[in-house]
């Protein structure tokens, strides 16, 4: 629990002295701008790269004559430096505040930050100093102010205005400072000194919480600590059910960079490599780039299996120059294998890189968004052509197993029509397609329940078919990373889950029944 601190608006106490000689006023403004640049550069030397970018932008703005020329013109006309400066900057702030694009609207805060910093220097005023470890309430928080405050444990930020895309939101996220925005002007009337806490789940500020609310917050914090301790205990052990039966725990990954921080011993392999990480650059990745990346992943995994999903672009994952823009409903559009079959020249480059990397470890290929046996057959034909071409050219390569994602209801319902080497259930998409609720619409989040009986029955059906025909069935959606849903998945028969690396310990604990009360 921390105390509330309300940060008043800066420089509201504009001085009322008459304007001095225009030359003196101009010189004061020049000095103040120079001092502001010096201060920002000083802060910049002590902060991380993300914050430096923001401060560098502010310094560049301050150093540009176009920012100050309006103020100097007003001073020449007899205006006081401070008033001239604020009027000039207010116009800029206004311009950004009215921008159509949210990113540009959020830049108004940067301009206000500059306006107030220079203004404070001009008036010789000191900035209100913020005690460490407080719940700070402000209209908005300029990034340079954020960087000057000691955000020790228990600190939080509650803003009357603000935006989740502001520079300060970025900084707060990176430093783990809880923040809520858009609380409205009334929040500024809350008196400083009261105890307060932020409810991150509801996005609210709780002032003077009653004993029950505090107790709930305390027990939530304790629960989080306990879970962390349990997770740490289970992290490196193999996952087993209370009966002793083993469950394979794989991890999902978006590329070799994040793997380098992980110990492969925590998992039984990689159940999903999202190869989209290769496709975020300005140009499509060539075969060599892909090959090198796949090799790094295989080297990390050692002898453990690594399932690499071919490019799953489209839907909510556009890739420029590749996916089709302006589809009315991209989740039902040209995505996954549909796009790959439409662009065989891109698909085959990936398959070549995969087959070459396959000699390096235990690599499997998985096709996303397969809806008909034809999708799989065409995918297999491309793979076959690539394998024989590489063999004919005597390029070291191997023919990996070819599996499918089971995420389109058509595949789950008629799973026996799909002659794949293995199946991996993509529970995120399977759920959104079964429930007909797009997963990027926040207000429909209640429908996104992978434990819905309709979804679970399709999972069970797929597991059943896998058992009958001797094919491996795994699940790689977010549901596997949620300890509360894991028991449902186990009851549906799954014995292989691919989870986010950060969830490994808790999922293993849930499997062992250690989270039950």
């Amino acid at each position: 629990m921390s105390r509330l601190f309300v940060l008043g608006d800066s420089a509201a106490n504009a001085d009322i002295r008459p304007a001095g000689d225009p030359d003196q006023e101009a010189a004061s403004l020049r000095r103040a701008v120079g001092e502001a640049i010096r201060q920002l550069e000083e802060v910049s030397a002590t902060v991380a790269a993300d914050a430096q970018d923001i401060l560098e932008f502010q310094v560049a703005m301050l150093g540009d004559d176009a920012l100050t020329e309006g103020a100097f013109a007003a001073i020449a006309g007899g205006e006081r430096a401070d008033a001239a400066w604020r009027t000039a900057l207010d116009a800029q702030v206004e311009d950004y505040a009215n921008a159509g694009d949210e990113y540009f609207r959020a830049r108004a805060a940067d301009l206000e930050d500059l306006r107030d910093r220079v203004s404070d220097i001009l008036s010789g005023g000191q900035q209100q100093s913020v005690p460490a470890g407080t719940v700070l309430v402000a209209r908005d928080l300029p990034p340079s102010r954020f960087l000057g405050i000691d955000w020790q444990a228990g600190s939080a930020i509650a803003l009357a205005g603000g935006s989740p895309t502001s520079h300060v939101a970025l900084l707060a996220r990176a430093r783990g400072v809880p923040m809520v925005v858009g609380l409205g002007a009334d929040v500024m009337r809350v008196p400083s000194g009261q105890e307060a806490m932020i409810d991150g789940e509801r996005g609210t500020l709780v002032v003077a919480p009653d004993e029950a609310t505090r107790a709930a917050a305390r027990s939530r914090a304790t629960e989080i600590d306990q879970r962390r301790a349990i997770a740490a205990k289970f992290q490196n052990a193999p996952a087993t059910l209370p009966s002793g039966e083993a469950v394979a725990i794989m991890i999902n990954t978006a590329g070799p960079d994040e793997l380098s921080l992980l110990d492969p011993a925590i998992c039984d392999g990689i159940g999903l490599v999202r190869s989209e990480f290769l496709f975020h650059g300005a140009t499509l990745p060539d075969e060599e780039t892909q090959y090198q990346a796949y090799c790094r992943i295989l080297d990390w995994a050692g002898r453990r299996p690594v399932t690499i999903r071919t490019l799953d672009a489209g839907g909510d994952k556009p890739v420029r120059g590749l996916t089709i823009d302006d589809e009315v409903n991209p989740f039902l559009g040209t995505r996954g294998i549909r796009l790959s079959l439409l662009k065989p020249e891109v698909f085959r480059v990936q398959l070549r890189a995969l087959c070459r990397a396959a000699v390096r470890g235990n690599l499997k290929i998985m096709l996303p968004m397969v809806a008909t046996p034809r999708d799989l057959a065409h995918g297999r034909a491309h793979l076959g052509a690539v394998v024989s071409d590489l063999a004919a050219r005597k390029v070291p390569s191997a023919a990996p197993q070819l599996g499918i994602m089971v995420e389109v209801p058509a595949a789950a319902i008629a799973i026996d029509r799909f002659d794949a080497d293995f199946y991996s259930i993509g529970s995120n998409d399977l759920t959104q397609y079964v429930m007909a609720a797009a997963r990027d619409i926040a207000s429909l989040a209640d429908y996104a329940d992978a434990a819905d009986p309709a979804v679970l029955s399709l999972i069970a059906r797929t597991v059943e078919h896998g058992k009958r025909t001797g094919r491996e069935v795994s699940l790689c959606g977010d549901a596997a990373s949620e300890p509360a849903i894991v028991p449902h998945l186990l009851r549906a028969g799954l014995r292989s889950l691919s989870v986010s690396a950060s969830a490994v310990g808790l999922v293993k604990a849930a499997i062992a029944g250690a989270l039950d009360r």
Partner: protein, 103 residues
């Protein structure tokens, strides 16, 4: 310019901006910094016919609010005009040397 011996060149170029969020703070800082390394007068527009703004001014470039998918037109006038336009077009083509996450 006034003695007629200075070699004067003019150059133009255009490039589609594909940076994920348009010509925003970091890209604008990079663009104006690069522009300032040339002596030529360099201007930026969203169409061949302007309006044109000073590509060396971060305040003006930001105020331009160029979104992703706009085509940036450069025109330069001066001794190093050709190099200037080529360098700026190349910076935009390289997506301002930024790789963005997401996925």
């Amino acid at each position: 310019m006034n003695n007629g011996t200075v070699t004067e060149t003019a150059a133009t170029g255009a490039i589609l901006i594909e940076h994920e969020v348009g010509l925003h703070a970091r890209p604008s800082v990079k663009l104006t910094k690069l522009a300032k390394t040339f002596i030529s007068k360099i201007e930026l527009g969203l169409s061949e016919d302007g309006p044109w703004i000073d590509a060396k001014s971060i305040v003006k470039v930001m105020a331009f609010k160029a979104a992703k998918g706009s085509t940036l037109h450069f025109r330069a006038d001066g001794g190093d005009a050709t190099q200037a336009v080529a360098a700026l077009v190349d910076l935009v083509r390289r997506d301002f040397d930024e790789s963005h996450g997401g996925g």
